[in-house]
Symmetry: C2
Subunit: 240 residues, 2 copies
Amino acid sequence: MRDCPSRYAAGVNLRPVGAMPLSGQIHRQLMDAILDGTLTGALPSERELAETFGANRHAVREAIKRLQQARLVEVQQGGATRVLNIPDHAGLDLLPELVAGPGRLNHEATTGVLELRACIGADAARLCAERSPGVGAALLDLLPDAAMPDAELAAGSAAYWTALVAGTDSLPYRLALNTLLAGLDAIGDSPAAKDFMTALREESRRADELEQIAHAIRRGDAPAAGETARRLLNSSIPPR
Amino acid sequence: MRDCPSRYAAGVNLRPVGAMPLSGQIHRQLMDAILDGTLTGALPSERELAETFGANRHAVREAIKRLQQARLVEVQQGGATRVLNIPDHAGLDLLPELVAGPGRLNHEATTGVLELRACIGADAARLCAERSPGVGAALLDLLPDAAMPDAELAAGSAAYWTALVAGTDSLPYRLALNTLLAGLDAIGDSPAAKDFMTALREESRRADELEQIAHAIRRGDAPAAGETARRLLNSSIPPR
DNA sequence: ACTGATTGTCTGGTTGGACCAGTAACCCTA
DNA sequence: TAGGGTTACTGGTCCAACCAGACAATCAGT
């Protein structure tokens, strides 16, 4: 059974290196096989999968339950479990897997995430200015410092946008941010991701524009907040 | 054990009335308890839950696996399984559950979904005009007819926006649409949802504006497509 | 009295095997 | 050849263990 991919040990919940629960390893293998098109149509039966994975059927079932929750497969008692068409059925929470698939980095998906982020982030800035001008002052305390190391910079950027989105008073926007940030986290530090990461770092360092947004929010100037945010976020989107 | 909520039998996969797998029923109960704040902090142990639900521990485990996949709980071997803070951890795929929680309709969440839809839909129209002007012609065939019954109207609207978003050539936008449509589906036909539904139906009937968008896309006029879409989609957002 | 290792008991993780409950394909009949 | 019934397969559930990690209470050494 293959090792635990690094991107899975990177979360809040660290585990001893290489120690992912069996059902988690099976889940990952099946997910990877579905994403790269190796696995289509009907899945092998749970009993077969258990045998090929050298695991118990229960472990396989737990893995499949998660695929089902992500709407990657459709399971029916008595019938076969089938792989669903991703564009038609999958939800946005698939982004992290999509961005950093098995081994590779998906440039198109990553670009899409950045575009979506620009779209939603700008709208969030607009709504925040309309509804929570008070957040503007708090944002001024979250501006980056030129001397900040990269890690701190990324954390600060996440904190800034999280606070801004919280100012929309809209849970859906908040959840969308979570999903997008998870997608961006998945970009990781592979050499293939270098361009994306440098662009994002540069964006995070633009204290002047982040400050402009904060001021626009503070004075309730929704259009200015939205447009400035849009301009800033667009700077990280690679040209097509 | 409580009956299968109607919104769960409404999907593609119909089941005999009242027949949801046991692990699914448990999943629903736990999810509802988490969403309405009844269940916080540490969950009871799997063995306890199995006993209180009158089910086997495996059924409970499968339910918990799905909660874990939705990032509603955090589970750690040896330690307790804990409920995660929703705004901080949950992903956008939670929308359907959020909109139509246990028994109630969440107006704030529903409004948020509509706002997010307007934001993303408008941007998708813009991108579609930039990248796939050819889609404009196809959209003209998907315009609503004044004589259409409501059900057909809703299906047609979904088809229109799906085609438009497909024109962005961006899987993330496509997935976002799936998630948002799932959220809107969850609004359902409860009396409390009447205002939302009538607004959405009215929007779907605005053939002229849908046609304007299609034409703007056909001639590659991204700003016009985006602004018209934004105006149209805004019409379904209730005033604050 | 305080600190620190130890131990027991709690948690989730995994296994095996058995049986129930649907589905679907096959075969046999009319 | 069309119909229905048998049968072999699918997923769903259960029981009864045992493994492995976490945690708290306990007891020894200082």
